[in-house]
Symmetry: C2
Subunit: 351 residues, 2 copies
């Protein structure tokens, strides 16, 4: 297969972890006879520095022309203490999601047998956890009208959803549930919010099209609780943008390391793959960042092209590295800590 | 002291746990020479059944005339599967909060030495955790305009905050921080929401009035994560209504039992005290519900009257019961499970 991938390394540790994912992907291409063309493009703080905006049009064109986007991370401390600065890296992220139509953020949370004791949660609570959040990514309070009234004394953010937006996300949820345990949980706050009531009635109306799927409806506060109590009671969860932001970050704790969790964002156009960890500025250039989440994001990318064996080969390499202790300092636990690059090299060599 | 307490037992296990808190409070009154007059009033599903509305005017009058309100829980399964029903118990709760002006919900999360191993989190992660959330309770997306457009195809919920609303909540947060470790965390989503930016700038402007308090600003998604990773890194946290709903429920997991966590809601008028657990309908009338959260809520009530010794005596009784294994089935862990009433009797006898 010929693959054209846009490479948005971003800020902080982004470039370092992206390098490793490229290296491992190239090893896959070599082994399975594919041809990957990587096209780098600017985004985030580095784009602001270079051209004044966090998601330049040129970057957008490159993404649109690609078969997929591999994304690192964005964000820089110089913007952190002032979320009200006129131009911020996050705006680029939101604009990118909107312009690329990436309405479904897919975030799996799973455990690694060799890391069960790294989690802040007890082993018996997390064993067997394998859940996936589908977070709506281009609607809700993130994109509704926002502003000030009364000379700045009152602020508002409007949360808006259309039935169509709920349907297309829920459809992906039902379809994903059909390929897994046929269990779907719709997370909302329908006892308080009108948007949640629209979510609930829309999903309820779709149940008849997926008679084999068992759907449950749970309030976001209850899920925030049960997610740490009994994570393995969940399988596929669908939810709106802000709830998804909060719950997927909470869920990432289960695996014991943020440095391991990949994600995919899908839409009508191109799909984007990225680690869930941020740009971790303090670690920039130190060769200590864990590249595995980015490698696993690349694995999701191959799988999204239908290249399941390729994806599995990458996952196997990661599992082997974890078992062999070829890990960065976040997972070293007193043992030897390997560099970002060394872990990448080892993974590429073990494809 | 002469105390006039409105008693809103509510639904499900509400009446049973309230009975025990009354019993223990009466023992306190006897020992310390106070006189408590309890005035029962209807709220929740039982109020809908009796008079058609979940928070009757008569109940409101009784609350207003009281020195404090002790609240059980509301909610009934017949409303659970239909959050769109025209009259629902939750509406009563929201109306009550609004009409009583209960803008600050105080939710402590702490651990009990004898229960450290009951938590889904590892002992070393939670040891020493003693944090308090101050959740804004009468504003935000709960109370903003909500509705449908396009013939029902579009739904919206507006989140609104005024500077005044943020100030009065933050003031309580700063004051509470001054009585504790002088650490305050403002939880928001200022990288996305205008209301959060108002929160952040308002709290920032108040910092100069409390020079001894160290304030940190964290995004809600990061807190959802760190709360389970390192709960004991937090002390006082302030946040808006919906974030508070989600995070306080998440935090309740730390202690190992929802059945132990009390709360207080404060405002300009009367204060209200309630366990954070719900009405737990399946357990209604079975004499198995844990009354300790309600007893500890009553302890917060005494403390709010400045009766610190009384509050401490109730806390000591609960600790003693936990150590002696005088607990309901949720905490029995293979040992003997005592009844709701028996635990209440034991606590009253040990005042
Ligand atoms: C950086 C921020 C705007 C973003 C979000 O809230 O969506 C991030 O938290 C995420 O989850 O990707
Ligand atoms: C029942 C519901 C409306 C309520 C809320 O969301 O405030 C509850 O979850 C709570 O936290 O007291």
């Amino acid at each position: 297969m010929k693959l054209n991938i846009a490479l948005l390394a971003g800020d902080g540790i982004g470039p370092e972890v992206i390098d490793q994912a490229v290296k491992v992907s190239d090893a896959i291409a070599l082994k399975f006879g594919h041809e990957i063309t990587w096209t780098p493009a600017l985004t985030g703080a580095c784009a602001i520095d270079a051209v004044g905006v966090p998601y330049p049009d040129e970057t957008h064109e490159i993404c649109l022309k690609s078969d997929a986007v591999l994304f690192g991370a964005i964000g820089h401390p110089k913007y952190d203490n002032d979320p009200t600065a006129p131009v911020r890296p996050e705006q680029g992220l939101l604009l990118m999601r909107k312009k690329l139509g990436l309405f479904a953020n897919v975030r799996p949370t799973f455990t690694f047998p060799s890391l069960l004791d790294k989690s802040p949660l007890k082993r018996e609570r997390i064993e067997g956890t394998d859940l996936v959040f589908l977070r709506e990514l281009t609607g809700g309070i993130y994109f509704g009208e926002k502003g000030r009234l009364d000379g700045g004394e009152t602020a508002f953010d409007n949360c808006v959803y259309t039935r169509h937006e709920v349907q297309r996300l829920a459809k992906k949820g039902f379809e994903l549930a059909m390929t897994r345990s046929k269990k779907l949980c719709c997370v909302d706050k329908a006892n308080v919010l009108e948007t949640s009531r629209l979510w609930r009635e829309t999903v309820q109306a779709m149940e008849k099209d997926y008679p084999e799927v068992t759907v449950s409806y749970e309030f976001v506060d209850a899920v925030a609780m049960r997610l740490v109590q009994w994570p393995n009671s969940y399988d596929v969860l669908i939810t709106e943008n802000l709830f998804g932001d909060i719950l997927t970050d909470e869920a990432s704790v289960i695996s014991g390391s943020m440095g391991l969790m990949p994600s995919a964002s899908m839409g009508d156009k191109v799909a984007l793959f990225e680690p869930i960890h941020g740009s971790y500025p303090q670690a920039t250039g130190l060769n200590i960042a864990n590249p595995m989440a980015t490698v696993l994001s690349a694995a999701m990318m191959f799988e999204n092209f239908g290249l399941m064996e390729e994806g599995q080969a990458m996952r196997d390499a990661v599992n082997k590295a974890l078992e062999a202790g070829i890990v960065t300092e976040d997972l070293a636990d007193g043992g030897k800590a390997h560099g970002t690059k060394e872990v990448g090299d080892w993974l590429a060599a073990n494809i």
